[in-house]
Symmetry: D2
Subunit: 364 residues, 4 copies
């Protein structure tokens, strides 16, 4: 449903890049969940642009919670988070720009909204809106942790540099939560940053791959067919701007395997049934098998670059050249990691609430 | 919602591999859509196992339409398709088997259904159910064609052999519709089949990649954020058993590109705004841009192979070895192509009905 | 969603009066629920026309369950019930009749389906379809009973004769379940039947009021605002053909009361908090309070009567007179009681599954 | 879905009586709809308490629109309305009160939220939240008017005094829009107000009936079975606090009629098919017939009265007596009229967008 996602725990997003506020309404949270403002602030910080390798736009993200919380705990009714848009450059408030930036939503917004869209700074399509998604997801992620369900995302690849795979999930996820630049192999950090800075210096940008793991999720969650765990998780992930692909477990790698290579033997370990390799990413037949849910998303390079590019003026129906000015990210993959964590937390909360009931996450 | 997908045009699936019938209810179809029984039959044939490279299970797929059609046209109320399960081997009707086949849904079904699941032939998780999805999708696909919206899927890769990319979409899609084995470069067909036969001879199986193109879809369809075109399409595609990944346009390839490489210049061609490369697969910001929608799915190798594999008996909590007997496919990627076509048709019909209203597809 | 209702437990209806089958798909039922075929058969009998005071159409309602049940228990995947349409008079299979019967759906079906609707015997609008709803609801009702949640509906009014109010709920509901003609005060039965027979003898029909009580439902179920218990129950009830009104507790009677009369004191009884009068019908602020849920629906008189009535031929746009022939009910209120019971069971199952999780009703 | 209603046009409500803001997010509005701030303000005024016959709480309702509107027109993305809660009495900010007011949501909130609910001034259950619903609905109502679809609600009954029925719909609806106290027969106004004042002087309250008419709605809108026009309208109306009943057309009156009395002949008038009496309230078989949609809701008397009432302290499980102090309405029926208008506008917009597509209401 457009800007609302979820069946039992549901998030509604609103706002524009240069509007007064962006925000999110999170409905269906169990009552009594502690709101950890520092936790939310920390996740917003992880998403926030950071000097050298990000847009110089300053975002303080001083969020306010205007409903659904009393005495620091959820009431059970909708929690609304507002984040003011500061540092909005008023000279940007010009009229609708009709020169479409390539690989942006400028032209499709025009196709859908016929000129009424807010085109300032990307309007409702701006990555800025993900700050509200992060705040909403932070509440969910924090609540999941108390049930022993941990979520972590690392930059698996950026500008051609690849991080190592997840090893010991629990330790890796906990390490990631403290890192400003989320790589498992710290040696990658500088290499990746260098690629970003290099691209930036050329007025260019880079893309990457994000890998997420969810541990502690009970087995038997999800549905066969249309609400398979992969279906609902992918539905959410493709809501994140710049995501153009997703794969679970060995994903596209499975396409080149034989069954005897791909199949994942079941074994008994410490009295629990587990798989040897987790090549199905924790999901079989749409239903969790108790292993970590693991998936990777493809993040395209930021489309706004400082090079002349061929494009059209859709109003005048003329071909032209665009060369953007302003503040832009040479990469977003390292920031999107917080968004992917948050988005994952929301979808997992919803799946669990559908399976175990509205109060499960904070059963008293 | 579990076994129902869609907001305006909605499909509900039911049935088990060894039950009396499988079937689908398609609700929300505009009135007056012609039901082309041959078209449905043809798509079922494309999905049907074919001797050498498939399971020897014989499926006649003699579907019956038991509601929603009068005088060969949709009434506008739910269309129900029933397909009897013939060739069901009664000796299979044994009790719940508690030895889980690796990488199957056997164990997760147990986790979710606690022993009550129908485990005969995979039960409700069986690929057999996709026959009903194909019949439902065939009605949608046929209706879309009359509006100039064509859908085609080819085996982009199978057993390591790669087909060529789409070239002239319209010609390619039309060529595919007549092919029993859906490749664009016919030279691939034998090579792929050989890999399948080879794997079969070893008791093994192969996976692959399916690529789908949708042409003729209007621009401006889809939504920003949660109901992005990618979100709803991927939601549907991960409902197809064996799909473990999806990517749109250049997909995971974008992760390694620079912005200057990935960006897709807009140009004017024959008075229409188009992109040069379609690297975003026809979708920007979640909304169609009028270019072909192009996506690829990763199909894992059939998990049932005729080799001994380590696994567990989940009831006795013991490790054991399984070596399946019976009828199984050494590859399903060539059959799944019809499923992907059908599933795509359903989701596209729903998106269009949401955008343009319930009658649009057959506006009189 | 048109012909599908429910979020966790969902029912999809299909079929037409003179089609081959009518049926229902019930998705989301917990695994392991016993299917009591006699119970279903009994509820179908309560809905079935009975000689003197109903249509002479014979309905054997020999339902078949073609999916979702193994060894007499639900598997957890969709349960599909098929009911063949026997006793279909082939001379009825004529073309679309374009003379609209007053207060029927004939004209509105034309407005929506533009001549493609199945107009034989009311097509998809026929009360016949409620047999499938009853079968679906019977499964739910039977499962609820095992959790101590009982549902009963009586004919509160018919042809001007009023039954007594519910007294001792538990005893009354159990008494109703065995009655072919559902009144609490048995003295009413003959009076009501006489009014029906009298109306029939004049070629006329009568309406009435149905009152339903649900006991044993836990407190704290339902939602504030849009998914209030009243909202979802009324949504379902207005799906029953002929229902034109609904009221909860004292309902429209509250409109004429003062607050001091309407307010319902809370007291403690046997260690539980209860209300003295239950004038809010078990629901405050959209949420159950643990008291019986009580509501009444207004059932309009069967619109098909054997008297000449002014109407139009919508194709020729001419005024004309209609005088229906065939088989029709002089009253449906006594049959609709089984439909209301069944519809209530479905909606209650869905509310409970949303609140307590998918397995709650059969937690093992 | 809890605090979100609608499939294509959807409203999400949030906030509490004594929180910082209440608000609504309206998603799915067509782009280019003019936002008439005076219109919204006017509807808020109609809902606002007015001296003698309402609570003395002062509500300025200075709403702000913080997203989805540029240059006074909708962008097509979510419109968010914020209304600050002024005149909040800080002495009310005490801890959870555990004495439940009879016929209020106090006890059911406790059952559902286990003590975490915001109990200040009714919290999320407060009628105060309807101000946000009114603002959201005002945008929809204003847009509908430009398509010739008019909505009007009058106080059909209050404190036992009955207003006349709708006569000439168009004129009546237009007259109502200017009236602060919505009656058709102006002679009723004083009588009703006297009853309210009288009740207030006794520390008591009165209820009433609201009747709504919608004219200009096209025929063929709505669905058979579960999304019947009555189903979706009633779903919305029972979201309004204090509504305990709804009836369409002749409603409960039909229960006592014979078919020959209830049936509504179709005739041709000015080249259009209409009914003579509109006893089905513009809806047959769940689908609009082009006649005015007419329905009535039962509004219970305000439960907060200034008389001692028996109740319980649910924490201590003791019986006690409550005698509320503070600011309360002796009647809300005259204020709820604006809420019912607004709620109707939202549901009608959603039904039309589902039927005719997202842009229909502002097709360019």
């Amino acid at each position: 449903m457009k800007n609302t996602f979820g069946n039992s725990v549901a998030v509604t997003l609103f706002g524009e890049s240069h509007g007064e506020y962006i925000g999110a309404v999170v409905d269906g949270l169990a009552p009594g969940i502690e709101i950890d403002r520092e936790y939310i602030g920390h996740m917003l910080t992880l998403r926030r642009p950071d000097g050298k390798i990000s847009t110089p736009r300053k975002e303080k993200d001083e969020f306010r919670i205007i409903s659904g919380v009393v005495n620091g705990k959820t009431t059970g009714t909708p929690v609304t988070v507002l984040i003011p848009n500061e540092n909005v450059n008023s000279s940007d408030y010009s009229a609708l720009k009709t020169v479409a930036r390539p690989s942006h939503a400028d032209y499709t917004a025009q196709c859908k909204y016929h000129g009424f869209q807010d085109s300032r700074g990307g309007g409702h399509f701006s990555g800025r809106i993900t700050a509200a998604l992060v705040a909403a997801g932070a509440i969910c992620k924090s609540a999941l942790e108390k049930k022993g369900i941990l979520i972590g995302t690392h930059v698996k690849k950026c500008g051609g540099v690849a991080d190592r795979d997840f090893g010991e999930y629990s330790a890796d996820i906990q390490a990631l939560s403290g890192k400003g630049f989320a790589v498992l192999d710290e040696a990658c950090e500088e290499a990746m940053k260098n690629r970003i800075i290099e691209a930036a210096s050329e007025g260019d940008s880079v893309g990457g791959i994000l890998e997420t793991a969810v541990i502690g999720i009970p087995e038997g969650v999800g549905e066969p067919w249309f609400d398979s765990a992969e279906s609902v998780i992918s539905h959410m992930m493709f809501s994140i701007p710049a995501v153009k692909g997703i794969e679970f477990g060995a994903g596209f790698g499975l396409a080149d395997m034989k069954g005897s290579e791909a199949n994942d033997p079941l074994i008994i370990k410490n009295g629990r049934i587990v798989t040897e390799k987790n090549d199905n990413g924790g999901i079989n037949g749409g239903i969790t098998n108790g292993m970590p849910i693991v998936f990777r998303t493809a993040i395209k390079p930021t489309p706004t670059i400082f090079k002349p590019q061929n494009t059209v003026d859709y109003q005048n129906m003329t071909e032209t050249v665009t060369e953007p000015k302003g503040r832009h990210d040479p990469a977003i993959v390292h920031r999107a990691r917080a968004v992917q964590d948050a988005a994952t937390a929301i979808v997992i909360c919803d799946m669990l609430a559908m399976r175990f009931g509205t109060d499960w996450i904070n059963e008293l």
